[in-house]
């Protein structure tokens, strides 16, 4: 028996590796190797084309990206100790660059730029960053995720509940709501660039019509206050059908007998949702949150086609910066370091989501 068994195991092993081998080889070469390379490059000074050999530089790429510092500016005082007041009644302060440019007492702030600040009595507290664009990309991405993940899952759930009713022709609505999902995000972005246009855009005209001409046209993508929201609305419009369908599948997995039992008990619609539907959607909810968060972190095409990160860096994102640096500016090390940070964030958040929503 013994030799026979080991022979059958052997033939299994060989067949197993032969059949999975081609796919494994391709996934290794085109997914795992580039991923490991990104990790490696993030600790070097790799550039796309460079006459100098690549050097290991430790964590300096990460220090460059994440470097932040604080600076408290005291108002300037005259020789007698009183505060200097300018003609317009404002206090005057030393300039930030006196601290950030070759000041031996403030070595740790060298090369930093002002990120944001606030008043503290007569003093000003300033937060400085080594890489302002990265900081904006980071905060914009987190903002996008924090808005899109809950909002899009909620809208998708409402849509799923709407099309889960027994109404004549409900399939037509299901088909329509899903339609934008199959349209390329690049096509959608270009189309919506026209819709958001400041002069002849559809959205402005629609809002003017609805407000009887009271509404003043807005250049949605050209205004730093509205650009990210414009991208959020369009992104939700394009992708919400995808998650609606996943919710719908979850809804249809809930046994009808539970609803019948609830009817017999005389439960209201809200009670049925609260005590039957929602508990039944638990796993679906976890999945949808994880998927939407991951997709939101990968925000790229919309930015590339619609705003290029502008205006005033208000739509910079991490992936856009990773591509911008790694490809356009040929700074592979910098782009890779952003990729690594992004990967660590996505990993952490999905682990936290899974832990918080785990089965107990």
């Amino acid at each position: 028996m013994r030799p026979n068994r080991s022979k059958s195991l052997q033939s299994n092993t060989l067949a197993g590796w032969l059949m999975s081998g081609p796919a494994l080889l391709l996934i290794t070469l085109f997914l795992i190797v580039p991923f490991l390379l990104a990790f490696w490059f993030s600790f070097t000074n790799q550039r796309l084309i460079s006459p100098n050999p690549t050097q290991f530089v430790g964590t300096s790429n990460f220090e460059q990206l994440l470097g932040v510092g604080a600076l408290v500016l005291e108002p300037e005082t005259a020789a007698d100790g009183s505060l200097v007041v300018a003609d317009d009644g404002e206090l005057s302060y030393p300039r930030v660059r006196e601290f950030t440019r070759n000041n031996p007492d403030f070595q740790h702030l060298n090369g930093m730029r002002e990120w944001f600040g606030w008043d503290w009595g007569n003093s000003k507290v300033l937060v400085l960053a080594r890489d302002l664009v990265f900081m904006k990309a980071l905060t914009n991405t987190l903002f996008f995720v924090a808005v899109v993940a809950p909002l899009q899952s909620l809208i998708a759930l409402l849509l799923a509940l709407m099309i889960n009713q027994k109404l004549l022709g409900i399939n037509v609505f299901r088909t329509v709501y899903f339609m934008p999902v199959v349209v390329s995000i690049v096509v959608v972005s270009l189309l919506w660039r026209f819709i958001y246009d400041g002069r002849s855009g559809l959205l402005n005209n629609l809002l003017q019509f609805l407000s009887f001409g009271q509404f003043q046209p807005v250049d949605w993508l050209g205004n730093p206050d509205t650009a990210m929201w414009a991208i959020i609305v369009m992104s939700i419009w394009q992708a919400v059908g995808f998650h609606m369908v996943i919710w719908l599948a979850g809804l249809q997995n809930i046994p009808l007998t539970l609803y019948e039992a609830a009817d017999i008990e005389g439960a209201s619609s809200w009670q049925k949702f609260r005590f039957v539907t929602w508990p039944g959607l638990r796993n679906t909810a976890v999945l949808i949150l994880v998927v939407i968060t991951m997709q939101a972190f990968a925000l790229f095409s919309q930015i590339d086609v619609m705003t290029n990160g502008g205006p005033l860096d208000s739509t910079q994102t991490l992936v856009f910066q990773a591509v911008q640096r790694g490809y356009e500016q040929q700074n592979i090390a910098g782009g890779s370091a952003i990729s690594v940070l992004l990967f660590l964030m996505v990993l952490t958040i999905s682990l936290v989501q899974r832990y918080v929503t785990r089965e107990r």
Binding site: G16, L24, I27, L37, I163, P180, I185, I195
Partner: protein
């Protein structure tokens, strides 16, 4: 369908339909606007955005924008490239990924558990973040073609196909489906003396139609809509797909009519395909999420 009796109920149902229709308008109006605009001259197109005419094919309607789009860029070539690359990738990936999943589910071999978990873990990596290192990988690979061995894959069809022939999501979908199949099927075929490849191709593939359809649809959408990668790896228009072709229409003074015509041309086939197979599309998305 419950019989409608009281006026109250009738009102309730009407309100439901009203809501459904309003939401439907939000989802279709940009698409309708795109198609309708593609038939209008630029001046009229811009003027019409201020009224309901934006959604109606009225006024000076013609195919001029379509002809102009063909004059501006080799649209036919772009469409051919997209279809060629997408078709080969979909077929290849269905074959390779289903076979690998078959091995993972039905064969016992050392290390398969860890390999499978690594594959599934890679689902978390956004493609854009590894695009640049991947560019360096393909740039240093050899290829054996008509003119012997060449180095570097840029500006070819295979650089758009080979890296996407296997992916974690497709493997994962097949694994999920195969796990639910009865093992007896396999054992019976093995007792009859079938080789593993015969079991795969003659027993499993014929009953796996639904998952093949699912995987094909998802892969088709992902490949046809690809943007960043072909932008990076195709320098000459000879190999460019439709999404990169869009660049020919980004202009300082954009000819919006032409843009709309091009967008319609590259989108309507996909929409038609979707309307024709909408049940399969929707099931395929749903099945990515059923087990999580």
């Amino acid at each position: 369908m419950a019989a409608v009796t009281s006026p109250n109920q009738r009102l309730k149902i009407s309100l439901k339909y009203l809501l459904l229709i309003l939401v439907a308008l939000i989802f279709v109006f940009p698409i309708v606007f795109m198609v309708v605009s593609s038939f209008k001259p630029d001046l009229q197109l811009l003027r019409d955005t201020s009224s309901i005419r934006a959604f109606l094919p009225i006024g000076d309607i013609s195919l001029d924008n379509y002809f102009a789009a063909f004059r501006r860029a080799p649209v036919g070539l772009f469409v051919f490239n997209s279809i060629f690359v997408t078709t080969l990738t979909v077929i290849g990936s269905l074959f390779l990924c289903s076979m690998a999943a078959f091995a993972f589910v039905f064969l016992e071999f050392r290390g398969k558990e860890i390999v499978l978990s690594i594959i599934i873990a890679t689902l978390i990596v956004p493609f854009e973040t590894i695009a640049v290192p991947m560019l360096m990988v393909v740039n240093s690979l050899p290829w054996i073609g008509g003119s012997g061995v060449t180095w570097g894959w840029l500006n070819t069809y295979h650089v758009q196909i080979v890296p996407f022939l296997a992916d974690a999501l497709t493997v994962f979908l097949f694994v999920q489906f195969f796990r639910d199949l009865p093992k007896e099927l396999i054992e019976a075929a093995r007792l009859d003396g079938a080789s593993w490849f015969q079991v795969y191709s003659m027993v499993i593939v014929p009953i796996a139609g639904p998952v093949f359809a699912t995987a094909a649809i998802l892969k088709f959408l992902a490949m046809y809509n690809q943007y960043l990668w072909p932008l990076m790896v195709t320098q000459s228009e000879q190999f460019r797909p439709v999404m990169v072709g869009l660049q020919y229409f980004f202009q300082l003074n954009t000819a919006w009519g032409e843009v709309m015509a091009y967008l319609s041309m590259i989108t309507l086939p996909v929409l038609a395909f979707y309307l024709f197979l909408q049940r399969a599309f929707i099931t395929s998305i749903a099945s990515t999420g059923i087990k999580g």
